[in-house]
């Protein structure tokens, strides 16, 4: 089911959380609401869920007006950052909750719970309590619980935020696979642009209550519309008005007419790439990212004078995009 949000406004006292936000989420897609804290992304998600009421504007789910409906009637599944597990119930009872509310038959509930626990790889954990589970397991339980009632829309609020890095990356991959199997319209909130790029079809980048740019991950990364977008989506070097990504900084040992002079300050081995910190023209600090082969070939070391040019650069505020010809 598609989601449509039209001209939604929301304030908390003096703080403007959502400023005339409109959005179309296609049915069956996997969309990330991305942005820094305070950007309004969680608020938007909760307005879609009905956990917050917009001051103005409308929400449509599957074509039907949902603005006035409480969360109970919106046919959504919601997953919270801190799991919101019913700590007084077993894992099985947690997952069964939505079905029991709908008065489904006992055998059907049992079957479905078993199915879901299997899906989230928690089979055998049914009789445990949430307090006996790890963070990652609790979140998988929360997901199973949300999916149990076969919602039309799945909403996740920073679902992996409370987990450590390794579990996070496992669950990200897992969410993507799940979506590929089930094709439920899914919207999730994150502040981590890597996560958004890894998991979603579409990224909606927000800042200060507004949607700044919407599109595929590569569109936001390669064709950012504002400086904010470029900075948020990845590392950026700024030289005067020109913005360059570290991996677009070309280092040469000889000048060629389009290069600037620079001095190598530091060479850092970051594992899968090499980072080279330089000072350009005696002033601007620049960070370049090279592959190990490239770095080896150039034989860089601190103090070495070199020459740099941007292989690809951007300027903003009305200036045409400057593309270097290599």
């Amino acid at each position: 089911m598609a989601i449509t949000v039209r001209n939604v406004n929301k304030r908390f006292g003096d703080f403007v959380a959502l400023d005339d936000v409109s959005l179309d989420v296609p049915a069956g897609s996997l969309t990330a609401l991305l942005g820094p804290s305070g950007s309004g992304k969680s608020t938007l998600l909760r307005v879609i869920a009905g956990l917050e009421k917009a001051d103005q504007g409308d929400v449509f789910i599957g074509g039907a007006e949902a603005t006035k409906l409480p969360p109970q009637r919106r046919d959504i599944g919601f997953v919270f950052q801190h799991y919101a597990a019913f700590k007084h119930m077993t894992v099985a009872k947690n997952v069964a909750f939505g079905l029991e509310i709908r008065k489904r038959r006992k055998d059907e509930v049992k079957r479905r719970v078993a199915e879901l626990l299997d899906l989230v790889q928690l089979d055998g954990f049914g009789d445990r309590y949430p307090s006996q589970l790890s963070g990652g397991q609790r979140q998988r339980m929360a997901l199973a619980r949300a999916l149990a009632v076969e919602p039309e829309v799945l909403l996740l609020d920073e679902p992996f935020g409370a987990l450590d890095a390794k579990v996070r990356s496992e669950l990200r991959a897992w969410l993507r696979r799940l979506h590929d199997e089930m094709h439920v319209t899914t919207v999730f909130v994150t502040h981590d642009q890597e996560e958004a790029m890894e998991v979603s079809d579409t990224i909606v980048l927000m800042d200060h209550g507004r949607i700044v740019q919407e599109g595929r991950p590569q569109d936001l990364y390669d064709h950012p519309e504002t400086e904010f977008v470029m900075r948020f989506m990845g590392q950026v070097n700024r030289i005067g008005d020109v913005y360059v990504r570290p991996h677009d900084v070309e280092i040469r040992l000889e000048p060629n007419g389009t290069t600037e002079a620079a001095v190598v300050e530091r060479v850092l081995h970051m594992g899968h790439h090499i980072r080279v910190d330089l000072t350009v023209n005696g002033g601007d600090p620049v960070s370049a990212q090279l592959t190990r082969d490239e770095a080896e070939r150039l034989g860089l070391e601190p103090g070495r004078p070199v020459f740099v040019r941007p292989a690809k650069a951007r300027t903003f505020a009305g200036e045409p995009e400057a593309e270097a010809v290599s």
Binding site: A49, L51, P70, P71, Q72, R73, I76, G77, F78, F80, H82, A84, A85, F86, K87, H88, M89, F97, G98, I101, R102, Y129, P130, S131, A142, R145, A146, A148, V149
Partner: protein
């Protein structure tokens, strides 16, 4: 006293003069332990027979029955109204809520005899609404309701404040309506606090004297509670009778206090 051994070694950091703990223990012994031992000694002195006779005397049994029955009733009333009031104080907001919240502690601050007198103004012989319940068992229950008011409320409030609202939101997102959310998600998490408050209310009600004595008329076999029975036994110099009933009441309080500790241990099982 002999099982408490004060250690030689000290935790690093602050300490009082080394004689202080010894003085404090002596103080505790003189003020609490000594009188308590006298009671236990007295209860053994007459032998089991005399004790049993005093405890099973018809007026003693009547007093005990009334006391326990009223205390239980009041514990249940508090379980319902206390939880309700705690809910309103935590989740609702209205003018005067802060004042109402502070007033809840009034029974803790007001002397019991004054509480009795206050209730008499509204529910006694000169009641402006014509409701005179003095000399009835209802008066006993009313006095106990006043004195035990804060227990369940103050027990439930902090739990309600700490309760993860997201659990309720999750239940809503799964389709549960308000009363279902309360019954299946909120109440189970409040239950230990409610029970704990009930136990404290019960223990308090069992020993209550000042407010009840003003209100109930203290008629033996009708409106005389256990504490008043003890008082009249003392006045008549029936030491055995007073001792027996005292030991019974003390034992009941002890059992209740132990169950509260057990309750705390059981309820923190699922926390993490």
């Amino acid at each position: 006293m002999t099982t408490v051994a004060l250690p030689r070694r000290r935790a690093s950091g602050a300490a009082l003069p080394s004689v202080a703990p010894g003085v404090a223990i002596t103080y505790l012994s003189v003020v609490v332990l000594l009188p308590l031992s006298a009671l236990l000694w007295e209860s053994h002195k007459g032998g089991l027979d005399a004790f049993w006779q005093a405890v099973t005397a018809p007026d003693a049994v009547a007093a005990l029955k009334l006391t326990l029955g009223a205390a239980l009733l009041v514990a249940l009333i508090n379980a319902v109204f206390g939880t309700l009031i705690a809910w309103v104080l935590v989740r609702d907001s209205f003018i005067g809520k802060g004042l109402a919240n502070s007033l809840i502690d009034l029974p803790f601050a007001l002397p019991t005899v004054v509480a009795g007198l206050t209730l008499l103004t509204l529910y006694g012989p000169n009641s402006p609404i014509g409701l005179n319940i003095t000399y009835t068992r209802k008066a006993v229950v009313l006095a106990l309701m006043f004195e035990t008011l804060p227990f369940v409320i103050r027990s439930v409030q902090p739990v309600l404040l700490e309760l993860d609202r997201e659990m309720e939101e999750a239940a809503a997102s799964l389709g549960a309506r308000g009363h279902v959310i309360f019954r299946r998600v909120v109440l189970p998490n409040l239950l230990p606090a409610i029970l704990s408050g009930m136990a404290l209310a019960f223990a308090r009600a069992v020993g209550e004297y000042g407010s009840v004595v003003m209100l109930s008329g203290n008629v033996p076999f009708a409106t005389e509670v256990a504490s008043v029975h003890i008082y009249s036994q003392i006045q008549s110099d029936y030491v055995t009778g007073a001792t027996a009933m005292s030991v019974v009441l003390l034992s009941i309080s002890l059992v209740v206090l132990l169950s509260i500790s057990a309750l705390h241990r059981w309820s923190s099982k699922h926390d993490r």
